[in-house]
Amino acid sequence: MSGDAPMRSFAANLPAPEFADAAFVTPVPLAEAKVAIVTSAALHRANDEAFGQDDASYRVIPRDARDLVLGHWSPNFDRAGFTADLNVVFPIDRLEELAERGVIGSVADQHYSFAGNQPDDVATIIHDSGPAAAAALKADGVDVVLLTPV
C-alpha cells in the first residue's frame, strides 16, 4: 500500500499562489557565498517553542544545533529518515563539509525553519513571517539560501 502516491496526487491538485514579476537574483560566486538553509520541516530545538497546528511562524536554528525535533504535524511522510540522519532533511553537516572544501564560501550562523502544513492561501507566510525571515537572512549577510521541503 503506497503512502506517497496519494499525497503526490493530493498536492498536485492544491491551489498554488502565483508570483507576477518574480525576482531573480544573480548571486556572488558560490565559493564566496554565505549559505543558509530554510526548511519547511517544522524543525526546532528541543528546548524551543514547538510548532502548533497551522503555525505560520518560524524558528531560528543556530549553526551548531543538532538537538533538533521534527515538529511537523502531518503523519503522511517518512519521519524515520530524519531520525536516523538529520542531514536527509537539514543538510547542515554537508554544508560544513562544502565550506571546508572551499566549494561554498561559508555556512551562515543562523538557519530558519517553517512548518510546511499551511492553509491553502499561505497568507501569513507571504505577507508576514516569510518577509521577516528574509529580512533576517539579509541582516545575517546570507548570499544563497537552500530550501528543503517536507
Partner: protein
C-alpha cells in the same frame, strides 16, 4: 516550500529549492528548483549516505549558474518508498497482566532510551512523554472497547498528538533495534502500523472514533491518510 523561495529572492538573496513534487514545483515556479523523486520526508534522498547527499547538493547549487529563470531540473535517480516493513525484533516483556500492546511498549523501552542517549534528543513529547506511552495505549484500548473518548482518560488529550508520540516512540526504538543500513522510506512506518500491537491499537481506536462520530480531525490524522 517554493513559496518561500519567491519571498526570499525578492529580498535580494539567491535561492535554490529542493522539491519532492514536480507538478507543485512547476506551478509555483520558484527561481531555481531541483526536483528529487525521493520518498516524501527525505528531500536529500538517502539518510546515512553523505556521498549521495553531496550529489544532490552539487546538482542544486549548479542551478545558480543559470543566467535567467525559472529553472527546474530533476535528479536522475528515482527512489521509491519501501513497500516492506523493516525487520525488527521486539524484545519480550514478561508482564502477564498487561495487554500485548502495553507489554510490547515496555519491551522496547531500553532500545528507545539507547537511541535518545545517542542522539541527545527525542521527537516524542508533543502531548505525552515516553513514560506515558503504556497508559496512552491502555486508554486507546478502552476506546476500541467502546468507551467514549471523553471517558477514556486519554493522557495528553489530543488524539493526533498522542498517536504521533506513540508512533515516534516506536520508530525511534526501531531505528535502534533494526540491523544494517537505514531502512527505505516508510519501511519503519510500515513496521509500526502493520506489525506492532501498538500500531494495531492506534488503527482500531481511529476506526472506533470514526464510528463514534468523533470530529474528522480528531481521528483522521491519528495515522497516515492511506491507512
Amino acid at each position: 516550500m517554493c513559496v518561500l523561495a519567491h519571498i526570499i529572492e525578492s529580498a535580494g538573496i539567491a535561492t535554490v529549492a529542493l522539491a519532492s513534487m514536480r507538478p507543485v514545483a512547476e506551478k509555483v515556479a520558484a527561481p531555481r528548483v531541483l526536483h528529487g523523486e525521493f520518498p516524501l520526508g527525505r528531500p536529500l534522498g538517502k539518510p546515512g549516505d553523505p556521498e549521495f547527499q553531496h550529489d544532490v547538493l552539487a546538482r542544486a547549487f549548479a542551478l545558480l549558474d543559470a543566467p535567467s529563470g525559472p529553472v527546474l531540473e530533476s535528479h536522475p535517480e528515482v527512489i521509491e518508498e519501501s513497500a516492506d516493513a523493516v525487520s525488527c525484533q521486539i524484545p519480550p516483556a514478561f508482564d502477564a497482566d498487561a495487554s500485548p500492546a502495553v507489554s510490547e511498549a515496555r519491551g522496547i523501552r531500553k532500545a528507545y532510551d539507547r537511541i535518545v542517549a545517542r542522539r541527545g534528543v527525542t521527537t516524542v513529547g508533543r502531548a505525552i512523554d515516553a513514560d506515558t506511552v503504556p497508559a496512552a495505549l491502555e486508554a486507546l484500548e478502552r476506546v476500541v472497547g467502546g468507551t467514549p473518548l471523553k471517558e477514556a482518560n486519554l493522557p495528553g488529550k489530543n488524539t493526533v498528538a498522542v498517536c504521533h508520540d506513540i508512533r515516534t516512540y516506536y520508530e525511534e526504538a526501531a531505528i535502534e533495534l533494526a540491523d544494517g543500513p537505514v531502512a527505505g522510506g516508510r519501511a519503519i512506518e510500515n513496521w509500526f502500523f502493520d506489525e506492532t500491537e501498538a500500531g494495531k491499537v492506534v488503527l482500531a481506536a481511529r476506526a472506533a472514533l470514526s464510528d463514534q462520530g468523533a470530529p474528522f480531525p480528531f481521528w483522521f490524522y491519528m495515522a497516515p491518510g492511506h491507512r
